[in-house]
Amino acid sequence: MKVVGARIPRYDGVAHVTGRTTYVDDVRIPGTLWVKALRSPHHHAGIEKMDTRPAEDMAGVHAVITHADVPLLEYGHLSALGIPADEPLLALDEVRYKGQPIALVAAKDEETAAEAVSKIAIEFEERPALTDVRQAFDTDAPKIHREGNWYTHFEDEMDHRQIRKGDIDWAFEHADTIVQGVYRPAAIEHAPLETQTCQVVPEPSGRLTIYSCTQALYFSMGVVAAHLQVPLNKLKFVGGTTGGGFGGKVDTATETMCALLAQKSGRPVKWRWTREEEFLCSSTRAPWHMEIADAVTADGWILGRKMLTLHDAGAYSRFSPYGLTKHSFHHTGAYTIPNLEFDGYVVYTNRVPTTAMRGFGVTSVSFAAETHMSRIADVLGVDPIEIRLKNANRIGDTSPNGIVYTDPSTVSTIQTIAEAIGNELKAEYRTMTNEPRSGEWLPEHLVAQLGNPEEH
């Protein structure tokens, strides 16, 4: 093999270094209108009255859209998987986060569009905001959605994702020590250098050409087609070259609205979010609240884990149910813990909706589980590398949801780093492999969890 494994330069490297790569903002279409959004100034409010006529009447304004212009107002990021939608494309009668789009204007230039937005007459009735996931379940908590403050549509209409494996009571009874902690990683902005940008051109054929910075051309095309209620052949997405995404550009944040404005105005339109919109109004990585209690033995075996996760989804669910499920599947990290009781909730708050970001669902639990592991090593007085090797998942071990690990490398990556940092391992840890457990590495409590790697 010569090409695979070779250090070949980027396919688009020459274009990148000569400024020839065409991002959406670089596409030049004469007669293009600029788009600006009216966004909610409140974290939570009812919309009492709205009159867009003052904007429509302005010279240079070609189209104004509100929820009334959207053929299918609610279509969720996970609707294709049968998960109910909860987010209107443009706010209907309530805003649930500061920055939520309510109406959009397409005008001859950005200045005119911005001025038209400021002329839209709107009255709000402010409502109490819920910002702390820990209070979302209280009877006196502000209510964000009619159906409540957390997502209730997991399998069998469960209101949370749960994992049950082994015998958690046995684990806590037989533990020498129970170590309990709380882990709270922050919301993160994707902050790609290219902000959300979209151009849409209405073609003479009646099709729409959508220049998009999406990370997912077909996914986004499906979202636009659903909102517009048109077949896919009415749309042509042009893209594939994205100025950074990190998950944030899986959200189809601009394409549908620009398509509607192009249809209504009959003109090409362009929407380039400002950096401030990108920071303050775009979706973020979720903040998470995780509580872990591990049942451990004095010599560092993790017998069982009880865990509660409150996933701060922000105002709408978007991909959060998916992210929480993925989180639950990986809540033991790189280790084999045979007895588990996990409960996780997707909780709504009045902050911008959260979405996928690099490591979706797992970055959070990697932090929680690994920091917890370091703590356990510290309180037990055992070596933090040895305790990890001891509990590391091995071929034939099973994951929280019963899947057999077939090609794990936890042992070898830990050994490699131990060597790199000059940590001399004891012989039994130095010679350990990823191969199936046996001997001292297969204590009684790990036998029942074993699976057969041939099965998968």
């Binding site: 695979v4 997912a216 309180v379 990823n434």
Partner: protein, 369 residues
Amino acid sequence: MAKHKGRGIAAIEYPTGMNQNGDPSQAWIKVKPDGRIDVFAGTADIGNGSKTIQTQIVAETIGVPYDWVTYDNSNTDSSPMCTGTFASRATFVAGNAALKAAQQVKQKLLEIAGKELEIDPADLEIVDGEVVAKGAPQTKMSVADVAGAATFGHGELITGTGAQLKPYSAIIDSETGRVDTPPHSAISYATCAAEVEVDDETGEVRVLRLQQCFDVGRAINPTQVEGQIEGGAMMGLGLGVLEDCYPYYPDVEHRGGAFGSYLAPSMEDMPQIDTILIENPSADGPYGAKGIGEMANNPQPPAIAAAVHDAIGVWITELPITPERVLRALGAKAAGGGEPRREGKKIVFDEELSVNAVSNGGMRFEVPA
């Protein structure tokens, strides 16, 4: 002023492909009359390098030089379906689609060449753009000539299509969370050691070094893998010590709306980053590859948290580990607090953060004694 150094490690795992699968990628390939190869796929390149990776896979699989292959992902009229570039799926899932399409093209090239050379296609192989008889390298025909023969002699268009899909089949048992088939395409693994320096008067944490080992399955392009891992390391550093959309979380005020007030890592935050790649091939990834793009920012935050504890003896479990959090933790420790509560065999940390301390009873986290 006192600065304290510390080191911590963390080991992680991460799946390739969408959780529960059901995320198809497709590719199709056509061959020009001179044997040059055009690949069409709907996979966005977000900087991750999927244009390069898929081009490499196609060139390798067919057996032609890399620069014979063009790659077009520019629009949905000419490119087939791809679920998208996320979930660490571009190399593995979309790469497999390109691989399968290339295998079809190779087979058709061999069939045409077999007719031209009057040799069983099974006895032919393609090396460096030439179809060669196995064991008789002097009997050969360039891929260009094969493509010409197909076009002008046999009246055929050589194409290949490929689709990769693990069906959305992982039914989750709502009680236990058990699934019946693997809900991912592969799993990859990594370990990170972080070295930090903490200023105990200002609380500033500086990450000095990150040593990281990633099992990448197979490095289709080692430089690009390093690029992903180095970029992920800095994003992980941001998660660990800098970035926060809500500096007063759960409060929603004082958000930063600019690069000066939202602290994305800058060039001067960069520590020494050492990268060690392990190739433990996956069973069904293209050439054994696994997806590592996302997990690249997962091991640093816990390694940094452990290193901070090693340096100054406090556990900070809210991210990022800001100077304020460092000073608050050091202050609590100096005041004789900050220690976990011990009750029987329980050691309870962070009680003030628990839902039990904040909720009005709507949600509790109860742990057996």
